[in-house]
């Protein structure tokens, strides 16, 4: 086993176990992307084959269709406790970028940030997968989640490099970057005031390359959009189809992506360069992230 991947795996498992031991109302955000899928795999390792908390997916109705298929397929196969939430009001009003009624940032804020905040707090309906009935049903439980596990990485973009493993969010899910408590040794922020919640980031120290090396080593099933299907294009980062663009690449599997990242054409291109909302936010996600975006 490769040493650096083992180190990363051990710390991530330690953090997941701390989260589970300290937060009674815990959930994990699953974006269907490679990072949160690695996180899902790490949870099964931490809890010896189980995922003992619900997974939350924010559906914008603009996700690439393969993402939703893959989500529900894995939900059934791994018996996951799957919940999705969405901003039905904004979608009904057609206040979105593809409808031409909002710019990209506003669309992200409505369909993702607002949907996420209100799904976590329980104020908007949650749709939970009923395995026996094989369908999503409205979840009667409206308790707010106080611990939210998120698969973000420090190397993705500037503001994410400022995160802690356990990062507090105030009542409105807002993040005060300038006033973060210290985090040292193996001690994390596991005590929190009523009404606040804590975001937990077990993948903070991982790089994009580490994620692919781990997917390859562990043979983790990932959505086919990451691989070239013959047209010489693949997605490097997944999101909503109107704002996410594939890159030119002929990598057909994790091994080829690793080679591409190590020495090939992607070496000097930012990972999220195919995500149009970043460019509108002055080259980063900071405005979105302060308000509660992942």
């Amino acid at each position: 086993m490769s040493d650096h991947l083992e180190q990363l795996e051990n710390l991530s498992i330690h953090i997941l176990r701390e989260a589970y031991a300290n937060f009674k109302s815990l959930c994990m955000l699953w974006s269907i992307g490679k990072d949160s899928t690695v996180l899902l795999w790490l949870s099964r390792k931490a809890f010896l084959g189980h995922v003992p908390f619900p997974l939350i997916h924010i559906d914008t109705r603009y996700k690439i269709p393969e993402m939703i298929e893959y989500r529900d397929q894995l939900t059934r196969q791994w018996q996951l406790d799957m919940i999705y939430g969405m901003n039905t009001e904004a979608l009904d009003r057609k206040e979105t970028y593809p409808d031409g009624n909002a710019d990209r940032l506003r669309c992200c804020k409505l369909l993702k940030t607002e949907a996420l905040k209100n799904t976590l707090s329980g104020q908007w309906p949650r749709y939970r997968f009923n395995h026996a009935a094989n369908r999503y049903e409205t979840d009667p439980n409206h308790d707010p989640f106080t611990g939210v596990i998120v698969g973000l990485r420090a190397d993705e973009e500037g503001s994410r490099s400022k995160e802690r493993y356990f990062s507090r969010r105030d009542r409105a899910s807002e993040w005060d970057i300038a006033d973060q408590p210290p985090e040292f040794w193996n001690q994390y922020k596991t005590d929190f005031a009523p009404g606040t919640h804590v975001r937990i980031h077990p993948l903070l120290d991982w790089t994009e390359l580490n994620v692919w090396e781990y997917i390859e080593r562990e043979k983790i099933p990932t959505v086919s959009l990451y691989y070239d299907q013959g047209a010489g294009k693949r997605y490097r980062s997944l999101g909503c189809w109107p704002c996410t663009f594939p890159i030119d690449s002929t990598a057909r599997n994790p091994q080829e992506i690793i080679e591409e990242l190590r020495s090939g054409q992607l070496k000097n291109i930012a990972e999220r360069s195919g995500r149009a909302q970043d460019a509108e936010d002055g080259g980063g996600l900071e405005t979105l992230r302060r308000e509660g975006y992942m």
């Binding site: 650096h4 420090a154 503001s159 490099s161 210290p182 040292f184 040794w185 190590r262």
Partner: protein
């Protein structure tokens, strides 16, 4: 550049504000070709738009906030690689208000680079950071004397700083190399300077590559703070798995382990792992999981130790070195939470022995409080005994943090275990637990059968408050609901088990022994799965601690009846029995919330 190995090392950069840490890192990234294309262009474009000259420091100041203030505000993580290995740089800012970010960075680092401005020389935070690095466990250090271009690359300037700062380092038991650099001009960062031929040593990059990757501490005794005990019965998994990250040493199936501070003992039946074959051993730095042969009660916060090794220290009192980062001072008047490993206990500062001023480290003052950013030597007293090691024996198990109002605001290392009054009692209980003969039915199975968790319900209050009346009412109500419950009058113990030491009249001298015996009787009843109700007059926190020694402390609930409670920590305060039915409902809700009574 592609490193020869996948080896990874975490480095922290520290130093006084404006001494040029970000410039040093920015230059390091640029000169090692470690920048993604998008990033460099993005910053260059930003500089062009704002008509600022491009600086390497801007590469790190990715956030708009920081660029406005001109200082780095948080410990950012920066990845880069040399021909030798991969690095994660934890950039610790130097502004005096931001020490907590330096601590965050330093505690995750294996080595440190400390930057000192050649023109300004050694400043307050150069010393403060050095001291903190030492306490946080950094043993490998290089000192970059930066901005050499501003002092004409002068050797005497460099030598003076080296002399002053090495003297300081030797006082705090740290040592390091010194390199004259200019982040702005690129001298001795990744490329050897041609402007300082008097300097023959390594560049910063070479110094980083010269740091040794310390192996995990396998040669020390086995220590694993228990993070959790898993039983995923509902998912059809009957394993009872003890999980935690191994701090030192190793374990294998068949090893005998003792859990401190309880002293309960078991033999490892299997190591557990998902998706692949379990390993033959779990060792230091690994996230471990195992099952035991015996169904003993283990909980988060205990420390697993090999029975053949020397055990950890167990005490309520310890002499420590600590640093404080709260805006409110740390005072002996207030209660805090102390966390060691996975254990958490309320406690207080019993005594402040000395407070060191980081600006003048040799000045030691006797003070009655510890202010923001100060370093001190103290005695801590926790409510219950904790298991730990001293800093000279096993550093990882000597580390603690202090939680105040939900936030970690301080931390430190334990230098010495001090005696506390309950030590003999604790040893008695440890011996009992080592010799304990387990019943054939596990605790969980018994609790499942009875639809209840065993519990000691202590009803206390002043004389004639109606404690017995309440105790009997609880007993009747729970019994009527099908629970296995028993009210045990204190006299039943005093004149029975305690007959040999019971003296007539209100004699207090045997009180601790009475309480100890009460605890032992309660422990037996709780082992049998009973909800036990006991009344006692005016129990104090100290009294409760004696009982808690004998009983698993998470199985005790304390009710205070009437006015003016003592210092005892109460789970429910009942003012009077005027509305007995409402009071009984309140108690039932408490028992349900705590998971003591439930239905399957």
């Amino acid at each position: 550049m592609i490193p020869a190995t996948d080896e990874k090392m975490n480095i922290v950069i520290a130093g006084h504000v404006d001494h040029g840490k970000s410039t040093v890192i920015g230059r390091l990234l640029a000169d090692t070709d470690s920048l993604p294309q998008g990033k460099l262009q993005q910053i260059q474009e930003l500089c062009r738009r704002t008509s600022k000259p491009f600086e390497y420091a801007f590469l790190l100041d990715a956030l708009k906030d920081e660029q406005a203030q001109g200082i780095t505000i948080d410990s950012a993580r920066i990845f880069f690689k040399s021909a030798r290995r991969h690095y994660l740089i934890l950039d610790a800012p130097g502004h005096i208000e931001f020490l907590r970010n330096m601590v965050t960075g330093a505690s995750h680092a294996e080595a440190a680079v400390l930057v000192i401005d050649a023109a300004e020389g050694v400043r307050e935070n150069s010393r403060r950071h050095g001291y903190m690095l030492s306490m946080l466990g950094i043993r490998q250090l290089t000192v970059a004397i930066n901005k050499m271009d501003l002092v004409d690359y002068s050797r005497p300037v460099f030598d003076t700083i080296v002399q002053e700062y090495s003297r300081f380092l030797s006082e705090i038991a740290l040592s390091g190399s010194f390199i004259p650099v200019s982040g702005m001009q690129g001298d001795n960062i990744a490329v050897a300077s041609r402007r300082m031929d008097w300097y023959k040593g390594p560049t910063v990059l070479e110094a980083l590559d010269g740091f040794i990757k310390e192996p995990p501490p396998l040669d020390k005794p086995f220590r694993m703070p228990v993070q959790d005990v898993y039983k995923f019965t509902r998912a059809g998994d009957t394993r009872r798995i003890i999980a935690g990250t191994v701090e030192t040493g190793a374990i294998r199936p068949g090893d005998e382990v003792i859990f401190y501070p309880s002293g309960k003992k078991g033999v490892i039946r299997s190591l557990e792992r998902f998706a692949t074959q379990p390993p033959s051993s779990y060792q230091a730095a690994q996230a471990a999981a195992f099952t035991l042969e015996e169904q003993i009660y283990v909980a988060r916060g205990q420390v697993a130790v090999q029975a053949k090794d020397i055990g950890p220290q167990v005490s309520r009192r310890m002499k420590v070195n600590l640093f404080w980062m709260g805006k409110e001072p740390l005072t002996p008047q207030k209660e805090y939470l102390f966390k060691i490993g996975t254990a958490k206990q309320p406690g207080r500062i019993e005594e402040i022995l000395s407070v060191m001023d980081a600006a003048e480290l040799n000045a030691k003052d006797k003070k009655d409080q510890i202010d923001y950013h100060n370093v001190a030597e103290c005695i801590i007293k926790t409510d219950r005994a904790m298991a730990f090691d001293t800093a000279d024996a096993i550093p990882a198990l000597s580390r603690f943090v202090i939680v105040d109002n939900y936030e970690i605001r301080g931390g430190g290392i334990i230098r010495q275990a001090l005696p506390d009054s309950q030590e003999p009692l604790r040893q008695q209980v440890m011996r009992r637990n080592l010799k304990w003969a387990l019943s054939a039915v596990s605790r969980e199975r018994r609790w499942e059968r009875l639809s209840q968790k065993a519990c000691l319900l202590l009803v206390t209050g002043h004389k004639n408050a109606g404690k017995k009346e309440l105790a009997r009412a609880i007993e009747k109500k729970l019994f009527a609901e099908g629970k296995l419950v028993y009210f045990m009058g204190i006299a039943n113990v005093l004149y029975g088990v305690d007959a040999d030491i019971k003296t007539p009249g209100p004699n207090q001298s045997h009180r601790p022994e009475h309480l100890r015996r009460l605890g032992e009787v309660a422990n037996l009843m709780l082992d049998a799965g009973i909800i036990l109700i006991v009344t006692a007059i005016g129990l104090t926190q100290e009294d409760l601690e004696i009982i808690r020694n004998a009983v698993d402390s998470d199985l005790i609930e304390v009710l205070w009846l009437g006015a003016e409670p003592t210092d005892i920590k109460i789970d429910l305060h009942i003012e009077s029995l005027e509305n007995l039915n409402e009071t009984l409902s309140q108690i039932k809700r408490l028992l349900q919330q705590k998971g003591i009574i439930f239905s399957i």
